[in-house]
């Protein structure tokens, strides 16, 4: 059987490292989501494969209408909207985490892809690097 010949482009794509950011923490209660987001933005410039999964309290990062003036911290929520333009492949949001927290897609500040744990189970296993924030 003839060996499958890949184009240079296909090979380059295959050689990229698959990074998955798992955002599990709510915004403002700790620095994790904000500084995690900074990593995503920098990493996106390196032409690797970047995906983000929001699960558990991480879904709160995408909640519309955050107003941080009263607590005097930076409102970084709008930056999540820009991730697609930075080359982040997918913003996955765990459907059950959203539901458990009384949220729907309409409550989120940007279009996302709702996923179930079954899909993510396999997806997580395919990653090269998992960065939890």
């Amino acid at each position: 059987m003839a060996e499958e010949i890949k184009t240079d482009e296909e090979q380059a794509e295959e050689d990229k490292t698959k990074f998955l950011f798992i955002m599990k923490k709510s915004p403002h209660g700790s620095t994790y989501p904000q500084e995690g987001l900074e990593v995503i933005l920098i990493m996106a410039a390196y032409d690797q494969i970047i995906n983000v999964l929001f699960t558990d309290d991480g879904v709160f990062c995408l909640k519309k209408g955050q107003d941080t003036a009263g607590i005097m911290v930076k409102n970084f929520s709008a930056t999540f909207k820009a991730l697609e333009s930075y080359g982040v492949e997918h913003l996955y949001v765990d459907r059950q985490s959203l539901k458990d927290r009384g949220l729907t897609e309409a409550d989120l500040l940007t279009p996302v892809e709702l996923v179930d744990e079954d899909e993510m189970r396999e997806f997580i296993r395919e990653q090269d690097v998992i960065l939890p924030f």
Partner: protein, 119 residues
Amino acid sequence: MKFGVMILEGPYQHQASDSAYNFVEAALKKGHEIAGIFLYTDGVENATSFMTPPQDDRHISKRWAELIQKNNIDTIVCIAAGKRRGITEANLIKGARISGLGQLTELGINADRLITFGD
């Protein structure tokens, strides 16, 4: 195997720094290579040279300095996280260097495994 390690918590507050240290030591003992250690968020505080803990407790930054120098481990303090927390060249342990998040990306690409210790 080449391991990369990221530390997201400062010294003493949580166990992350200790766990990372013990993991790195165990990995070295087994003959593995530490491709790099990346200190991010409060993790940068592990690299301050200003620590003076009580004599009967572990000296976290000193033991990191000894380990990384002895084993020539590339240890990076994130410049952005460091600036936020007052960790600069002026108060850095020997063996660590300040650099950017691009180094974390490189570590993720080049190491066989990247493991994070945090809270």
